[in-house]
């Protein structure tokens, strides 16, 4: 696809061909003004490509802009309940989810504050809360971490890992190259008018720190969505996941209905070998 603004404007992006799979974390990087934000907007569907098209976008999509404006004449909670309902939640559920997300990001005290009076960081938390409320299948984050405090940034990292573990596609841009570095599945450099795949730290990190999880599930149960591998006859499975994803994997296992029993969690010392061994075991 390609995108330009105005009938005779310069192309911002041209001949971009990209496929994003479920359960994956995709990073876009590049210098300022290369079209990263435009690309994210096209992915999120708030901007239409000038040529070409975007296909197969899932039903629940959420977008977090870099800077969330204070110009809204609603309280934080009021805004979130409206957005929850727009995302398709019922009224009571939207309220519940809104309060839970504000709490999670340490902004519960701001629920009754008009968005216009919030600090930049607190307003950003509202934007993040909005996106996570609907448990989106496609989550697009445009420097969403900017302005958040340390605790909220970490919480957002965890929330992203959870979404990916639950099978969602998460695409993001962040100025910090270490952001979620261990968990990225694919990274692209936006340069010129197009995309170039780059070796993400995670791909290098295939040999980086990994964690081995031994879990036993209920008889006949399949693994929670987004986790690799399949249980053997006894319902046991060995997962070897990047260290950055281990918390999310554990949460998915323990949070499944009915929950899995985690028997062993251990760092993988000699990275590549046990991983292959585990795969052999499963085979």
């Amino acid at each position: 696809m390609g995108r330009r603004y105005g009938l005779r404007g310069d192309w911002v992006l041209r001949d971009v061909d990209l496929e994003l799979g479920p359960g994956s974390l995709i990073r876009f990087q590049g210098a300022n003004g290369t079209g990263k934000s435009t690309l994210l907007k096209v992915l999120a569907g708030t901007d239409a490509p000038t040529e070409g098209r975007v296909e197969g976008r899932p039903g629940r999509v959420a977008y977090v802009p870099e800077r969330f404006p204070g110009g809204l004449p609603l309280t934080a909670l009021g805004y979130l309940v409206h957005l929850g309902r727009i995302h398709g939640l019922g009224r009571a559920r939207a309220r519940e989810e809104a309060l839970a997300r504000l709490e999670r990001f340490g902004a519960a005290g701001h629920a009754r504050t008009p968005v216009a009076e919030l600090s930049k960081g607190a307003a950003q938390k509202v934007a993040v809360a909005q996106a996570l409320m609907a448990e989106p299948e496609l989550l697009v984050l445009d420097e969403a971490w900017t302005g958040l405090d340390e605790a909220a940034r970490d919480e957002l990292d965890r929330a992203v890992a959870e979404r990916v573990a639950a099978g969602a596609t998460v695409a993001y841009v962040d100025h910090d190259p270490r952001r979620l570095a261990g968990a990225v599945d694919v990274a692209y450099e936006v340069a010129g008018l197009g995309l170039r795949a780059v070796n993400s730290p995670a791909q290098e990190g295939e040999s980086g720190p990994r964690v081995r999880i031994l879990a036993v599930g209920p008889q006949g149960a399949a693994l929670p969505a987004g986790l690799p591998g399949a249980p053997d006859a006894d319902g046991a499975v060995v997962l070897t996941v990047p260290a950055a994803r281990s918390d999310a994997a554990l949460r998915a296992l323990l949070g499944a209905q009915p929950p899995w029993h985690v028997r062993e969690v251990a760092p993988v010392t000699a990275p590549a070998e046990p991983a292959r061994a585990a795969e052999r075991n499963q085979a």
């Binding site: 569907g45 959420a62 404006p69 809204l72 957005l83 398709g88 934007a127």
Partner: protein, 222 residues
Amino acid sequence: MTALVRYQIALLARSQRWLAPVVLYAAFVAVGVQGGQPVLDSLGYGAAALLPVAAWLTRLCVTGEPPAARHVTAAATSPARAHLAALLTAFGCAAALGVAATAFVVLVSKWADTEGQVRINPLGAAGAGLLAVLTCALLGTAVGALGSRPVLHGTGWSIALTATGALLALVTAGSPARLTVNALVGGSHAGAVPLPLVPFAVAVLLAGAVGAAVCGLSSRRG
């Protein structure tokens, strides 16, 4: 769509930017419509005044959401649906204003023709008045939609063209708004309640076409 419209109504209501057009319209109707005047004349006057108010309300609804928040809403639904919700909200508010004005006018006016000779059925007059305010609200919404984003982005040009557009929609020969208002005033002279269905139908088509065009444009021009 219901959730989007509810959100747009909340944005408009809480922003208090609706106060100016609503107060202005109320003042216009209260001052312009004196008790005891012929009902159809006053209805025409009230409907005509609603057109620029509807355009103004549309501009408020379409520009009320800060851009970043708009992108958030558009991602959750689609830019076209989000834009349509803003237009529907504006039209709904203008129509509600028009209905209230029609009720007020019918209650305080004299149920007779211009000469005061022929009795005018108040229910028939109210029906014609409702048709007229809906026609004007539709056209005003269309003018407001064409005069703001995504069609026009700069504030200065935008307001000047919206105001000019609203005026033209009222005075141009063949405009459904003018036809409706003329029908009411003519009916008042003739002593018969008109039924301006054709201008209303044309207004529905026009507003529908404009709505489809600007909503389709909203994902391309922001």
